[in-house]
């Protein structure tokens, strides 16, 4: 008797806990869902108050974006994010491998440096970069943004890839050396091929960080190299608030981000705590 009572109580507790979690999840998602739904609303219904709750979905907000400068800003976002990511991987991966295999004394200093470069507020870099770029003519160029994005991407690549190399066995490399392969060849033929998945994960994180950047694009670009996040905010400053377009633009910016990050949520924490916590 007592056990069945206990079991019933446990079931009831579980039901209550589940209900609470489901309700909280819905509350958490509502603001986001509202925004996405808004991007499919005709302009009239956006302002129609409660009467606009039911509406005929339309793509007009999206189509009006493509006749706009928004397309070129998406292109800028894509090019600057991917080029900076590729550069960071090319430069950072060999260095991360060396850091993992060589015996280092300044372990803690390294951690602190990487952590500090991730923690520094963007404005600390934006001011000197702004001054130098003004002088060098790199303001409002894609190259300028690509270089600035290296400030956080390089540190991220070094940290994540070194963690990965730390966890891989050295046996294969040593066997290759014994067989007479050069150090460089061993790195290219043995080490790199087995790093594929780690490289992809790191690349996605770097891409997302660059894609999400708002501050650098706001301060270091004006027109030509302006990225999508800044362009969407510009819709707010034009005459009359074009909420439909803002919602559509915002939705387009977050689609790749949502898809990638939910696919690899396991690695999210490793990326965000780079420098302090080994993933």
């Amino acid at each position: 008797m007592a056990t069945s009572k206990l079991a019933a109580a446990a079931r009831r507790n579980e039901f209550i806990a589940n209900t609470i979690v489901v309700v909280l999840a819905i509350i958490t998602l509502l603001p986001f869902l509202w925004f996405v739904v808004m991007s499919f609303k005709p302009a009239d219904d956006i302002f129609a108050g409660i009467d606009g709750f039911f509406f005929k979905p339309t793509l007009e907000n999206y189509t009006s974006l493509w006749s706009d400068r928004f397309a070129s800003s998406m292109m800028n976002s894509f090019i600057t994010s991917s080029v900076s990511t590729i550069l960071a991987l090319l430069i950072g991966t060999p260095g991360a491998y060396a850091l993992s295999r060589a015996t280092m004394k300044q372990e803690r200093t390294m951690s602190l440096l990487i952590l500090a470069s991730r923690m520094a507020p963007p404005v600390a870099f934006a001011i000197p970069y702004f001054l130098v770029y003004r002088y060098m003519g790199l303001l409002d160029t894609r190259l300028g943004l690509i270089i600035v994005y290296l400030t956080f991407n390089l540190a991220l690549v070094v940290w994540l890839m070194r963690n990965f190399f730390d966890g891989t066995p050295r046996a294969l490399e040593e066997a290759a050396w014994i067989d007479g392969a050069s150090l460089w060849k061993t790195f290219m033929v043995i080490v790199l091929p087995m790093s594929g998945p780690a490289l992809v994960t790191t690349a996605i994180l770097c891409f997302l960080y660059s894609w999400n950047d708002f501050f650098f694009a706001l301060t270091l670009t004006r027109n030509n190299a302006m990225t999508a996040p800044v362009e969407v905010v510009n819709f707010m400053n034009y005459e009359g608030w074009e909420w439909g377009k803002i919602a559509a633009g915002g939705t387009l910016i977050m689609v790749p981000v949502l898809a990638f990050s939910l696919l690899m949520r396991k690695y999210l924490v490793a990326g965000m705590t780079a420098g302090a916590v080994k993933g």
Partner: protein, 323 residues
């Protein structure tokens, strides 16, 4: 010595190759080659990291000793009174106010994010398909681009398009939007920031919970401990260090808060939501007082380095830093 044997030894840990080659008698040449090779790989990344991060920081430090104002080019390399900016910041009321706003915002958001993160992590810490699906939905706010989060909350706080205000209208309540109200603007930012970042603390806590050893809990269950007792006496003490690290991370990150304030309140009304980071942005990119804002940035950077150092210590020094 066969390659297999070398392989087995190699697995035993760092530096083992050294021993192998020492015995084989090829150490000096090969080891030197190896070290040179590693430096060759490391040199480009160190050089470029130095150029893109250390040089700008140095430049920032240098400009902080000048009264540089973009409207007046002659001020660029004027070191006649190097500490002028640092003296100014001691008496700058608007800066002091911004630090106070920052302290309030950081403390309240970190505490709220730890509470929500912990609460939801504890509820979610069951391996059922439903919970796994829900975990993912809780992550959405954190992975959205920060600028989109800011716009979402701008929508929610704009009475003419916000579903909340439609509801208020139906109920006959006349409520002013908090973002233009000096008494509520900071709270509005706190709500949005908490929504955006509680998933971060939740994720870190969930990761720690997944590693929690079962024995203690099982022993306590056998002894008839209730769920509350289990949580209070076993789970929470176990999570102490995790909570501290997650809190420190959020604390440092909260110093960077920008898009929310830029979009929602623009630092206003007045300066009630103007945090230090935002104040620097206004001084440098709106007023062009580069020299002065560099000095303020240096102070902020110093604070961040100290906090980062605390994190590195906390993580490497702790006994259960095994996330």
């Amino acid at each position: 010595m066969s390659a297999v044997e070398v392989g087995n030894r190699g697995r035993s840990g760092p530096g083992s190759a050294r021993g192998v080659y020492a015995k084989a008698g090829v150490l000096p040449v090969f080891e030197k080659q190896r070290q040179r090779f590693f430096w060759l790989l490391l040199a480009p990344v160190l050089a470029i990291l130095g150029v893109v991060t250390l040089l700008p920081t140095l430049y920032l430090l240098i400009t902080s000793f000048t009264p540089l104002n973009l409207a007046n080019p002659a001020t660029a390399w004027d070191f006649s009174d190097p500490l002028v900016n640092y003296r100014t910041l001691l008496t700058d009321d608007r800066l002091h106010n911004s630090l106070w706003v920052q302290a309030k915002l950081s403390l309240v958001t970190v505490v709220l994010q730890l509470l929500f993160g912990l609460g939801i992590a504890l509820l979610l810490n069951v391996r059922t398909p439903l919970m796994n699906a829900l975990r993912t939905s809780f992550l959405v706010p954190m992975v959205l681009p920060p600028i989109v989060v800011a716009i979402i909350w701008k929508v929610l706080y704009s009475p003419d398009i916000s579903p909340a205000w439609w509801l208020f209208q139906v109920l006959g309540w006349n409520i002013q939007t908090p973002i233009t109200n000096a008494a509520w603007a900071l709270s509005a930012i706190v709500v949005a920031d908490t929504w955006e970042w509680f998933p971060f603390t939740m994720l870190i806590i969930l990761a720690a919970l997944a590693m929690m050893p079962e024995e203690q809990r099982e022993a306590a269950v056998v002894d008839g401990a209730s769920t509350w007792q289990l949580t209070w006496y076993i789970t929470l003490p176990y999570l102490k260090q995790t909570l501290m690290v997650a809190g420190l991370f959020r604390l440092i990150d909260s110093i960077k808060t920008f898009p929310l304030i830029y979009i929602l309140t623009d630092g206003g009304p007045g300066s009630v939501t103007e945090v230090s980071n935002y104040y620097i942005f206004v001084q440098s990119f709106s007023f062009s007082y580069i020299g002065y804002s560099s000095a303020v940035t240096m102070v902020l950077l110093a604070m961040i380095v100290v906090l980062s150092w605390v994190i590195v210590r906390a993580v490497s020094g702790g006994s259960n830093g095994d996330q």
